[in-house]
């Protein structure tokens, strides 16, 4: 019995959100959240890789020997990340320079491996693609919210355009520093887990 596409969507966006419920995959992207544009580029890349690697793993699930599945999944993921990297280098060279090693680090993003392992190995192909895309989207929403706050208070801009009112006021240097990403993510998890989603298990 497989979940319906709607259930998958709801789970990935809210009830099982990769970031604030599962705390997966924050490594590679939290670092670029002081800028909305870079965050968008990174998270779209993650969404692309999660979707397509889920699709591929699901297609090959009968063929992959169980014992070496981790390595096979890693190689599939690495292949898609190389594609993302090449697309970025060709069409968005400036962004590719800023993002630097973080694009390559999508390979070790736990969400991608997690979805391949937990969903794609036991679900039909199209549903796996849908699951990958939606969990990538759930991931994107959270990080973009963090990025909007950091960019607005840290630099007074949104998508690199000055925002009236925020641009003139004194900048919050802490928002541009790494520590603020930890605080904001912690606060977001606190609010969402405390107010909206109560966990039943411990």
């Amino acid at each position: 019995m497989h979940d319906s596409p709607l259930t998958v969507l709801k789970n990935n966006l809210w009830y099982q959100n990769p970031i604030f419920i599962q705390i997966l995959g924050i490594c590679s992207t939290l670092a670029v959240t002081n800028n909305v544009k870079n965050t968008l580029i990174m998270t779209v890349g993650v969404m692309f890789v999660t979707g397509l690697s889920n699709l591929t793993v699901s297609l090959l699930k009968e063929l992959i020997p169980f014992k070496v599945r981790m390595i096979v999944q890693t190689l599939i993921i690495a292949t898609y990340v190389i594609i993302v990297d090449m697309i970025l280098k060709a069409y968005f060279p400036a962004a590719s320079k800023v993002l630097g090693p973080y694009v390559g680090l999508i390979i070790t993003n736990c969400i991608i491996m997690g979805r391949a392992e937990a969903f794609a190995l036991s679900n039909p192909v199209i549903l796996s693609l849908w699951d990958g895309l939606t969990s990538g989207f759930g991931y994107m929403i959270v990080l973009v919210v963090i990025a909007i706050v950091r960019e607005l208070f840290g630099f007074g801009t949104f998508l690199d355009l000055p925002v009236p009112g925020f641009y003139q006021m004194e900048k919050w240097t802490i928002m541009a520093m790494p520590a603020s990403a930890f605080f904001l993510l912690g606060a977001m998890i606190w609010i969402i887990r405390g107010k909206f989603i109560r966990e039943d298990k411990s």
Partner: protein, 200 residues
């Protein structure tokens, strides 16, 4: 935070990668296993040690592979696949080697080694090394410093977690949220080191 010059003194680099540009606190790498493991002081010691060992070996090997295989044959675009394969292979070999040579060390490190393949800090250090085109000596000190920095951060966090576990926290705050706040405070404290090294 990305401004380490390529021709920086290896010893300064060692110090910088432990304190001022800590791979975890300023580059956010290796967070997944960090949050999961940091509840227990003993395992965080083990994991920190394992990460340091694997970092030094893989970064040195990736340097050799990159400069003697990938660059001459002009196949640098295959980098990601080669590095991740190399990391997996090194971890696997290290696991077998430690198991054979020192069962007691295997007991201490063994369970952490598989976790390390997907630890972003390892691949991250390799990619930083490539991007900043370090020399071999610089790469090794950078890897050692990053490993020690990660180790220091996880042990400190485990110690803080131990204190905080006695406190009753409201709904939602217990667990990952408070852990992230603790990491945030630690990151803030570590920015105090920034002034010590002019280049980083």
């Amino acid at each position: 935070m990305e401004a380490i010059a390529p021709n920086i003194n290896p010893w300064v680099l060692l110090f910088a990668s432990i304190f001022t540009s800590n791979i975890l606190l300023s580059n956010f790498l290796g967070m997944c296993s960090f949050i999961a493991i940091s509840k227990d002081q003993k395992s965080s010691m083990g994991l920190g040690m394992a990460v340091t060992v694997v970092l030094v070996i893989t970064v040195a090997l990736s340097w050799l592979v990159r400069n003697y295989i990938l660059a001459p044959f002009n196949i640098e675009y295959l980098g990601y696949i080669v590095y991740i394969g190399l990391i997996a292979a090194v971890v696997q070999m290290l696991e077998m080697l430690i198991d054979r040579l020192s069962p007691s060390l295997y007991m201490a490190l063994g369970i952490f080694l598989p976790l390390i393949t997907v630890n972003c800090a390892i691949l991250g250090a390799v990619l930083f090394m490539v991007l900043r085109s370090y020399s071999l000596l610089q790469s090794i000190t950078f890897a050692l410093g990053s490993g020690l920095g990660w180790w220091l951060a996880i042990v400190l966090l485990a110690a803080m977690q131990k204190r905080i576990s006695k406190v009753r926290l409201g709904p939602g705050l217990a667990g990952p949220a408070i852990t992230l706040f603790l990491i945030g405070f630690m990151a803030l404290a570590f920015t105090g080191f920034t002034a010590m090294i002019p280049v980083a």
